[in-house]
Symmetry: C2
Subunit: 435 residues, 2 copies
């Protein structure tokens, strides 16, 4: 059998230990992650192990060790030479979740550096890099040296995670995607946290989404995921806090790449939808607190334009033209209300799926996205609407996509009498910090 490392194990031995409900030893975890990264443990062996982990769980010690082993599979960044503290944010993904765009420059404007390594979108939730790539000239790929320089100089960087960061996670994520093992909380938590810890931030705020448009539909499981990630960050010496936030309805009034950039710029200019502003400020305060900065109110930095200044420098430094007009879709279609009343439902999953089908998202990693495709929401749940009023506008470059987008919205948009409006969920449902 054999394999890398001093403590050689055997894949079947490790699988059987977890299958039979045991705890894997540190040496088993280290071995299996390293051997998998190097192809000594085969894909079919790792998928059996992933299923056993999904069904039998992992202890906090096992998950911490698994995360550490994934970090050790690649390079680890180091921002300790920076003159200011670092903080980052990670969202588990939601519809209309453009918060990173205003948040990173806002926190930087408050004196905390934000090294945000992001991904592209897959499925119904958009990716931060896809959104920023709708800005003419902007590039996602930076060298480590460029990233460090921009962090020191501008204070915020949003760029693509390099292939050197947690390569075990990259391989494992692709496997989980095709083997029905995405939903294992230990594997979700270690996947997210291995990249964030390897990225080198000293403080981390997690935005764990709950609701129809989120990966976690259920508050109890979202809380479990949040607690697991906070524990992992804490074990790795990163000050970590998680907020559980509502994703039953989309964030803001736009879902789609360029549409969300425009809305983010509105927020940085002092406007924008209330929910986006509120969540941006809430997350900014948590990041500052976690980074040990308690003498700045981020609301001031929105008001005085300094967050917008950082945004413009951040975009410019990465080759983008912050003042260039954003792409506009060639085709639009209105969705109007069939009656008067109160908008009672605007379902996040329905809107996310519609935006995806309009071309804003991709089904496979290698697919392109349309910069201008998406959905603009003219009313939010609780708003009074009248018969014939435009509730949504759909945008795409390919009109053949409207039918399937409209089908996605069926049952996801509802107008009722005033009396039947559900009490709206608060945006922040819970907060988890280290115990």
């Amino acid at each position: 059998m054999g394999g890398p490392g001093q403590d050689a194990h055997d894949a079947v031995e490790v699988i059987i230990a977890k299958r039979d409900g045991g705890e894997l030893s540190d040496s088993q975890v280290d071995w299996v992650v390293e051997a998998y990264t190097h192809g000594v443990v085969a894909e079919e062996q790792m998928s059996a192990l992933a299923m056993a982990i999904l069904l039998n769980g992992m202890s906090r010690r096992e998950i911490s060790r698994w995360t550490a082993a994934m970090i050790a599979s690649g390079e680890r960044m180091d921002f300790s030479s920076l003159s200011r503290p670092t903080a980052d944010k990670h969202s588990t993904g939601g519809v209309g979740d453009k918060i990173t765009l205003p948040l990173a420059p806002l926190v930087a404007a408050c004196g905390v550096a934000v090294p945000q390594l992001s991904g592209r979108g897959l499925g119904h939730t958009g990716g931060t890099l896809d959104k920023l790539e709708s800005i003419a000239g902007w590039r996602a790929d930076l060298s480590n040296a460029e990233m460090l320089h921009q962090l020191e100089d501008v204070g915020a960087v949003i760029c693509a995670a390099g292939a050197g960061l947690a390569p075990a996670d990259r391989k494992l994520y692709a496997l989980r995607d095709v083997t029905g093992t995405v939903e294992a909380i230990p594997l979700i938590a270690s996947s997210i946290m291995s990249k964030k810890i390897a990225e080198g931030t000293r403080a981390l705020v997690l935005d764990v989404k709950v609701g129809s448009g989120a990966f976690m539909k259920d508050a109890a499981r979202a809380r479990e995921l949040g607690e697991t990630m906070v524990a992992l960050g804490t074990d790795a010496g990163v000050t970590t806090v998680a907020l559980l936030t509502d994703m039953s309805t989309p964030l803001g009034r736009t879902a789609g790449n360029a549409l969300e950039v425009a809305e983010s710029v509105d927020v940085l200019a002092g406007g924008g939808p209330d929910d986006v502003v509120a969540l941006t400020l809430e997350l900014a305060r948590e990041m500052l607190l976690a980074a040990g900065v308690d003498d700045v109110d981020p609301a001031d930095r929105l008001r005085d334009g300094s967050a917008m200044d950082v945004w413009r420098r951040m975009i410019t430094t990465q080759g983008g033209e912050p003042s260039a007009p954003l792409p506009r879709a060639r085709e639009t279609q209105a969705v109007t209300s069939t009656r008067s009343g109160v908008l009672s439902t605007l379902d996040a999953m329905a809107v996310g799926l519609a935006a995806w089908r309009l071309g804003a998202g991709r089904a496979r990693k290698e697919d392109p996205v349309q910069a201008a495709a998406g959905v603009v929401m003219h009313a939010k749940p609780g708003d009074q609407v009248t018969e014939g009023q435009e509730l949504l506008t759909l945008y795409t470059d390919e009109p053949g996509r409207f039918d399937r987008a409209l089908a996605a919205l069926e049952g996801g948009v509802a107008v009722s009498d005033t009396g039947s409006v559900r009490e709206s969920q608060p945006l922040v449902i819970g907060r988890i910090s280290a115990t």
Copy 2:
């Protein structure tokens, strides 16, 4: 997506259904087995499904359908043209389990044809074909026409299962072996039964071994396996009975290929160890009963030499020389008793492992085996022994193997005072028939 058949499913959908504790539909089972056989469902997807089946189980309907789908993946033999009824036996494997060798000719001598498709050994239990291949000239590979002719002419055939029989099982078994999913009862049962049903026998007796030297260490799990297989056979129209038999100590006095052939010939000649004779007769009676033959006593056919006649014709028809001397090992080593008393332990796993390490078994499919390697047991549990008496003789062609064989026996052979001998387990622990 896509795949063969009208009802196309998706591998991830099927995996998730089982992962979440659901029952797979007939259409999902048919699709996933066929798609896996044709490589549309990937190895890593099937291993995740196998782990979910192991941990979440399958209903009787699912296992029956799974078995039928595995049979449908290949050819199905038909012995309905034979002039006599058919019956077969399958053992889940034990140390010293040479019963097939005297049993097949004995049952044929009683007027029931035995179409025994066998395998080679892997691990500590020997394979029937490996044993017979120690006979000069004997060949395991027969065409279907040769097999049918021999069944009509001689009444018994023991040969290799062709690649056309349940190819899905062949592929799945190799996968389970490396992914820690061998132990799933639905998969063990459907693996065994798909081959036995496809083989075309009308009656089947299962010898489910329990104890240290067996695959199933635990009587409750062995009973579950037996019940599952009896249900599968019954559902497929095969009269099926299972005996649970003890495998805490080896069967007979030999473990090893040529050694077991010699012991089998002793049984056919009217001698041989009591336990081998008793189990051979018990299984023969069950096979005759299942085949609807109730007017012959197999003990008479041992006594009158007709079983030996069938043996010789069976070996000769497959090119073997039944009178040729069997290979003898170049090296021997004695294991003697360090005290006087009663042999209280002769552990089946210890002896099986020792025989394996002496060269009687293989670690990988492609390894050769030594015909003459193995262990002869001069005493059985309950026997009086004296200090210095030879308890075991080890045989191998490579003396370098003795040390590891002796290590395997440590703790597996014990002599105690008369008073401390355990009450010996009956050989047949239970019987399961269709309800």
